[in-house]
Each structure stands twice: as C-alpha cells, then as structure tokens.
Symmetry: C2
Subunit: 255 residues, 2 copies
C-alpha cells in the first residue's frame, strides 16, 4: 500500500454513468442531445442507452429517456441499511415535534455531508435541502459538528480537497477561523450556523460518534434567524439536541 499503480478506470463504465448524469441534470433527453453534450458518437450513446433501458435503469418516453425509479430502490436501500438510520429516525421525529422546527439527520461520506432523513416541525422553514442532498461539511452546522469530531488528519485532508467554497456571504472561508471554531465546537459539543448555508436561517448541530469517538453523522435543528436566536439558540436547543444525540449514541452501541 505505497505505490500508485496505473489504475486506469473502466472507461465504458464511466461513459455509462456520464450518460446517466446527463439524464439526471436534464430531466429528459434524446440520443443526439446526450451525444452532443458528451462529445460521443450517436451510435455509442444509442447502444449504451438501449443497454440501460433493457436493464430498466432508464425509461423511454417517446424519443427521450429519463432515469428510472430503480435508483430510488437502490438509494433508499443504502439509506435504510446505514447504521445510523434506524436509531436516529425516531429521535429526529421527536425533536421536530418538540421544537416545531426542521430537523435533519446527516451522515458523512467521502468528506461530504449527506442528508439522509429530515422531519418537519409545524413551523419548518423550507430550504432547498432534501433527502440525498450533499453539502460541503464546512458550510453548515451538522457538517461542522462532524468535521470537529473527525480524526485530525482526515479533517485536514477534507479541507484541502474542498477548499472552503462559500455558499452565502456568511460561510466560513478562512481556514484559521474554521480551525478555531472547530476547537470551540469540540469543547462545548455542538456547532452553530449563522446564515452560513442559507441566508435567514440559523441552526444547531451535534455530532453522533461511534465507540472510538469519531463522528459518523450529526443531527441538526434549523429555523428562521429571528426565531432561533438568543438563549434558545445557544442554550435550550443545544441541551435538547445533545440529549437526543447522546441517546442515539447509546442505542447505536447496543445494536
């Protein structure tokens, strides 16, 4: 495990997923449209698309194709078998009912945060977040909570890779500032987000750690900035949230 052999990827597989990516971004597209976009011969795209269609992975609608609900089956399966899902879901529901705000369960995968479950409170804010949404870890409360509780070298490598892109004017883009925030987060156990991912939205996030103390995910509570402020944001909600994540960690260890 030292050398870099030439690991050339299987190009045919890459083009297949390139095609699927085009279909994912364009809702529905035809053969020529895809071929133009990817700079491939029509015949190549044709054969690939027919292959995917025969597997049921894309669905034909007249002369255009869209990706099929098999991906929903694959995706929900992935989510449901994640160790955090079963134990976190009921707690997320509880938190949403108690706080009346939007509550998310986020896991870490390859250095990004993935929203795997969300519960609506009665006064939930509507953001563009949705199940499956991937967000850079430094841009939101749950992500920062995860980042702060990852092994130091992994955290640094993740920061190297994603380079602190800004999402709003408040997003932390300075590495030193982020480092000191992460330190604070480690000390008090939870993270705050002041309009760093969506303007007008504040949030609290707390990590869910495994036996070795590394974060495998996080839970967050988000709401409008004017409602989530003062002691509610810095005391009441964190207390509630930490209680929940603590319970989740215990259940996680015994499952």
């Amino acid at each position: 495990m030292a050398r870099h052999p030439d690991h050339r990827p299987v190009e045919t597989v890459e083009t297949a997923f390139d095609i699927l990516d085009v279909l994912r971004h364009t809702t529905s597209a035809g053969i020529t449209e895809i071929a133009d976009e990817l700079d491939l011969a029509k015949s190549t795209v044709y054969r690939h698309t027919k292959t995917l269609e025969s597997r049921g992975l894309v669905v034909r609608n007249g002369d255009t194709y869209r990706i099929s609900t098999w991906f929903l089956d694959y995706g929900i399966h992935v989510r449901n078998q994640h160790p955090l899902f079963d134990v976190a879901t009921p707690k997320v529901d509880e938190l949403a009912a108690e706080t009346d705000e939007k509550v998310w369960c986020v896991i870490e995968e390859n250095g990004v945060g993935v929203h795997i479950y969300g519960a609506e409170g009665r006064h939930s804010v509507r953001t563009h977040a949705r199940i499956g949404k991937r967000t850079a870890l430094h841009q939101f409360a749950a992500g920062k909570a995860i980042l702060a509780h990852l092994p130091a070298d992994r955290a640094e490598r993740i920061l190297d890779e994603y380079d602190l892109a800004a999402q709003t004017a408040q997003t932390i883009t300075d590495r030193d500032e982020l480092r000191s925030q992460l330190e604070t987060i480690r000390e008090r156990g939870y993270a705050l987000n002041y309009e760093e991912s969506v303007s007008g939205v504040h949030a609290v996030g707390a990590p869910v750690k495994d036996e070795s103390g590394d974060a495998i995910g996080a839970i967050s509570i988000a709401g409008p900035a004017n409602r989530l402020s003062g002691e509610l944001l810095t005391d009441d909600l964190p207390t509630l949230l930490l209680g929940a994540t603590n319970e989740i960690e215990i259940n996680l260890a015994h499952s």
Copy 2:
C-alpha cells in the same frame, strides 16, 4: 420498426451493474466474494470496483464495499421530478391525517407499481412496503386500480409478462377472475384488496389518470383487516379517496 437487429447490450456496463446488484443484495462485500458470485476474474471485479469507487458510487469500508448515497441523490431526484409527486404529496398527507391509516402514492413504470411516497397515520400498520418498493400490479389495490385504467393492450402485455405470481394465499392468480375484477374496478372507480399482498391487511386504491384517461399512478389506503371492513372499506374510505384523486387529477392538469 419491424426487424430484430442484434441489439447486443454493452457487456461492460452490464457487469458494472451486476456488481452493484451484488452489493445491493449483500449489504457489504469484498472483491473475491463478488467475483465468485458473478463468475468473473478477480482482477475484472477489482478494476470495476475501483472505477465505481473513484466516481464515489461505491464506498470502501476496510476491505469491503457498499453502494454509496449517490444513489439516494439520483433516486430522490427521479421521484421529485415525477409529475405526480408534487401534487400527490399533500393529499397523501391529508388522507393519512384524516383516516389515521397508512397511505401510499404509487406510480407505474414498465408494468410494475413503484411506491414513491407514503404517509403514516396514527394507527398505521407496518408492512414491508417502503419508498422505492416495486410490486407486481395485480398484487395490490393501487396496482389493480392502475391496471384497470391502462390501455387494454398494455394491460394484457403486462399480465403476459408477470404471469400473476402469488404473494399471499389470497393473491389473484386466475386471469379471468382478474379480468372481471378489473371490469368492476373500472365501473366503480376504485379497487379493493383483501389480504392479497399482506395477510391481515385490507386496502382501497384509486387511480390517478392523465388527460387521456390512462392511469399514471394510484393512491391507496391500507390498514388491518378487522378495522378496514364493512361500510368503512366499501363506502366511506372509497368516497374520501376518490375525492382526493379527483383533486389530484385537476391539479395535475393545471401544472
């Protein structure tokens, strides 16, 4: 469109998805395990898996791999952009709140029913249904409602293909019986399910039709057999349900 050209599929793509299928069924597997299952050389599986990993489509955990949450992103995207999703979701929630039972939104794709959204009522039965679940149309209320409102030739072709496999002892396996039920369903506008998909569970299903009168999906209400019986099952719930699907159809036409 008469001859049978030799439509040979792209085999490399097929093996890639064969690998993904193995990973989907086994939670997590190693290179050799996959290679044995598929009768492929270890080196082939190795290269494919590394390709999928470099795209983030599978995730490595020590020496085993699992499929990644990208499929959740793909899948939820497919669901959200389905025309039925946005208009059906609020109605499904309403029905669940009003009836206190489990309510599902199902769409038809390639002759199978796909559960794309479900809402819990306070007394929901727990079945093995979940988002993304695919079910043969003849086996459940929503599916029969769809089948009854598909163009006759398409419906027949679907029945040819799936051959009326039984799910419980009550599942309709006789084609003539099914045909006469579908006729009844067309007349009264809704379908009933007496333990045909899950023993102990009854359900009502009604189709959602597009402008041309063909079903694109259906909504169903399911609950324990002893609670869902008598006039509730044959009168009250159908009335409620048909009101909802009617509204959905109107909203669908204006969107």
